[in-house]
Symmetry: C2
Subunit: 185 residues, 2 copies
């Protein structure tokens, strides 16, 4: 597993995304998910699993984040956690009650928990994560009626694009690891 | 709800805790839980719900944390998250694989998720949290066989003491809120 910070990987460009015939809300969802993808690509270039997130308040992005778990050497450096931290500094409150969170992959148990703790009312996500996702795949932390907050979830916005970004990343990483094994320095 | 930083509240002293007849492991658990309680008391003095946490590696405390959610204005300022952040800096890895985490109250969904993400193998907790705990009370995030990591959990170490600390806190807070309402400035 490559974990050092010297890796420079280059994600492929997204194909053209047509918004013809979409509603204003759908167009906005695509706009902000593209911003989340731009974050995910920053992770990709560092050799980190490409996951990105933005938080939107009153039509403005007030928090951005991307996965830097290996780079920063902390499990807390997930995209959503970083975005929540930054948004909190802008709002000056731990409650992000009027915000929407856009994320390129279904949140893990920690990030889903942080979203509930931050009282974020709506999450828009792209690709699902059948092995570890906690917006319904393995567990549903975002919508448990026993918690004091439930989150409305929209799935599949640019889902194919974000799934492809992840797939490209792992193909490239495996090829690099294989090449490194075959040619140890 | 009192949320400003000027509050100075004073937790009562813990009663004497006898360790007579206990095993070495039980004595250590009590020693580290007392250190977690010392953290919880720091939260208490700030008018924050008194929850504290320490992380132990190789017999040493390498991460401490206490609840500062209102003070720091972020949902991420839970005791466990702060302790995990600090322990990661000491270990220089996002994996805290040989650590034990001591916490005075059953973790919420975010903190339970962070514990799984950090691959912490063992959690020792004091009081249970029937309304929001995620080590079995509302959900069991620490022990879900579908995740790639499961956590061994020991419950009830100084549970009565930590439950009393929380109860004292809420009694004092309600009295302060009532007095403030009756005497607005």
């Amino acid at each position: 597993m490559i974990t050092n910070n010297d890796i420079k990987m280059k994600p492929k460009a997204l194909g053209r995304i047509s918004t013809k015939g979409l509603s204003e809300e759908e167009k906005l969802d695509i706009k902000y998910m593209k911003a989340a993808i731009a974050q995910a690509k920053k992770a990709y270039t560092l050799g980190e699993v490409p996951i990105g997130c933005v938080i939107v308040y009153d039509g403005k992005i007030i928090g951005r984040g991307y996965n830097r778990r290996n780079t920063d050497k902390t499990p807390l450096a997930h995209a959503e956690i970083t975005a929540i931290k930054r948004a909190g500094k802008v709002i000056k409150d731990w409650r992000l009650e009027d915000c929407k969170l856009y994320v390129t992959l279904e949140p893990c148990q920690m990030c889903a928990g942080a979203i509930v703790q931050a009282r974020i009312p709506e999450v828009i996500m792209a690709a699902e994560n059948p092995k570890a996702g906690c917006a319904g795949s393995v567990m549903d932390i975002l919508n448990n009626p026993d918690f004091n907050h439930q989150v409305s979830v929209k799935k599949g916005i640019l889902g194919d694009e974000c799934a492809k970004l992840l797939k490209d990343f792992f193909v490239e990483l495996r090829a690099r690891n294989k090449a490194q094994k075959g040619n140890p320095q």
